[in-house]
Symmetry: C2
Subunit: 327 residues, 2 copies
């Protein structure tokens, strides 16, 4: 069953893939001493609780609904350490990445597990990050069993975006097509898919689009569906910026920087576009995010040869989406 529980942790983490930037996506499942599932949670956003603390606080609320918990991660960590009443004695955790052992924006998760009396921690991938690593050693020193390598390949797939943006630049291409492969123009995917795309827009350093998209779709390119910050833009076009109709909504966003080439400081960059844009840039992309509706239609398809290997696929309403590497 350990693979089953790790898969639950991985699935939960993938739901927040990209949204945790600049942190890695991490998932955590907690079982009580009788192996009842108490929580399946993930790290959701930089600055919020790590996956482990998020799962533990969810379990705490379930076991003691009468106690209200502080919201802020440091205060939450301290409160749980003081008020756990041994409710996690003998508990088991499945974490997709080795728990951190350093005080960052939040206190170390390895310490939290040991304070609460966890019996065993299953880990998918060892943390190689110089600052955060060593959680497994810490746990063992404090008498907690640790087992590495559960669904390790899948755990490493989950970390791919993080390892890229941590070392330099991570480039993601977003494409939305019908089930029969045709780009449907401005609104192709359903509200759930577009909300996920807006959440990504709200955390990236730069959104790259082509002049064609701007002229045809006259888009806003903001993050309104999640009430997030509109991303800075880079417009790649043969035409000068001044040549575009300045009434197109994307030019009206306050405090937005608009570039015509990619600034070096941008580490997480999303490209959005159709067939031509994909053709021009597919070879420099790290990953592809492809939304596909459940509609067969009678429009021409995208005809670009591209062998993709899915790292993850899921559904958002009636849409399918996948995160792919090119082969």
């Amino acid at each position: 069953m350990k693979e089953f529980y790790m898969q639950l942790a991985l699935n939960e983490a993938w739901k927040y893939q990209f949204l945790t930037y600049p942190n890695p996506a991490v998932g955590c499942v907690i079982l009580d001493k009788n192996e009842k599932i108490l929580a399946i949670k993930a790290h959701e956003k930089a600055g919020l609780a790590h996956a482990e603390l998020n799962a533990i606080s969810y379990a705490f609320k379930k076991l003691k609904p009468e106690i209200s918990l502080p919201k802020e991660a440091n205060a939450l960590h301290d409160f749980i350490c003081k008020n756990h009443q041994n409710m996690f004695k003998g508990a088991i955790a499945f974490v997709t990445l080795e728990p951190c052992s350093h005080q960052g924006k939040t206190p170390p998760c390895a310490k939290l597990f040991s304070e609460l009396g966890f019996k065993k921690i299953f880990i998918s991938v060892k943390d190689e990050n110089d600052i955060a690593k060593g959680g497994g050693d810490f746990l063992r020193k404090h008498g907690i069993e640790v087992e590495f390598g559960i669904l390790e390949k899948e755990g490493k797939d989950l970390l791919k975006p993080f390892l890229k943006w941590q070392k330099g630049q991570f480039k993601l291409f977003k494409l939305a097509i019908s089930m029969s492969g045709s780009p449907l123009g401005k609104i192709v995917s359903n509200e759930l898919s577009r909300t996920y795309a807006h959440k990504i827009r709200s955390v990236i350093d730069l959104l790259v689009v082509g002049g064609e998209t701007i002229r045809i779709d006259k888009p806003t390119l903001d993050a309104r569906l999640c009430q997030g910050k509109a991303p800075d833009l880079c417009i790649l076009s043969r035409n000068k910026l001044e040549s575009f109709d300045q009434n197109i909504p994307l030019f009206k966003i306050p405090n937005r920087n608009i570039y015509t080439e990619i600034p070096e400081k941008a580490k997480f960059i999303m490209y959005e576009g159709g067939e031509n844009f994909l053709k021009n840039f597919k070879n420099e992309m790290d990953l592809f995010l492809i939304f596909q509706s459940s509609i067969l239609n009678n429009k021409k398809n995208v005809t670009i040869p591209l062998n993709l290997k899915p790292l993850y696929k899921n559904f958002l309403g009636s849409d399918t989406y996948g995160i792919y590497e090119s082969e």
Copy 2:
């Protein structure tokens, strides 16, 4: 969490969708008295154990690996009733369909739950079948808590093929396309997808294909990937059967009936074909089974307007497949 466990039961049942013909697809999750997951199982094939017995025997083996169990469903049922040593006392089950209360090819599942001392049974959909219904009442009479309606809509979706073939005819269209919507000819999908399709072929009453497919692909249309029985065929073509090259492998299958119109006795009928076949028959289909690879290519797509609503989607290796209704 009850929806979470029911979803696990539903997911497991969908893996065997169509393969249980003429029985319904049913899934069952068993938790012990401490709510630890003991089994996630489904009914896999007519004649084999019902989902409930399959899950209970899986859990039995896990708890008592030293005891070897009989294989045949009736013997298995009896053996477990005699040797359970109260290991299921206080256990909980999640079943996607009300447990049967009648002696069919196998003994009633409701009786099994009560003999083993289960505490509570969660059920998605009430069984309206005159022969099998009444399991919930039976359980309550024997002091077991019963709760109906957990993920009922999803449970009803799972039963749609069964309700069709039970009342008359069920027609399924199988299509395999690339991610960019083009039918790739004979082999489009990967081995896992084709094995699932072959398993379906091995249980259906009739496979319907067009003359075009036969002339171009020269197929065998058997169920070799699952070592199953090759289905009877109906060839819909303007040309007479005698006009086809009789060396095409499909004509070499021993004991295969080949029709030129659909015999009335056929209740589960699968149509396989490409764009033209889909265009001609889409309006008379009950459901669509669509395999989609993870490849964008430069071939023309299927251009048939068809709004589909997914009942279920999953992955088989790098392929996606979905079971859809037309809207």
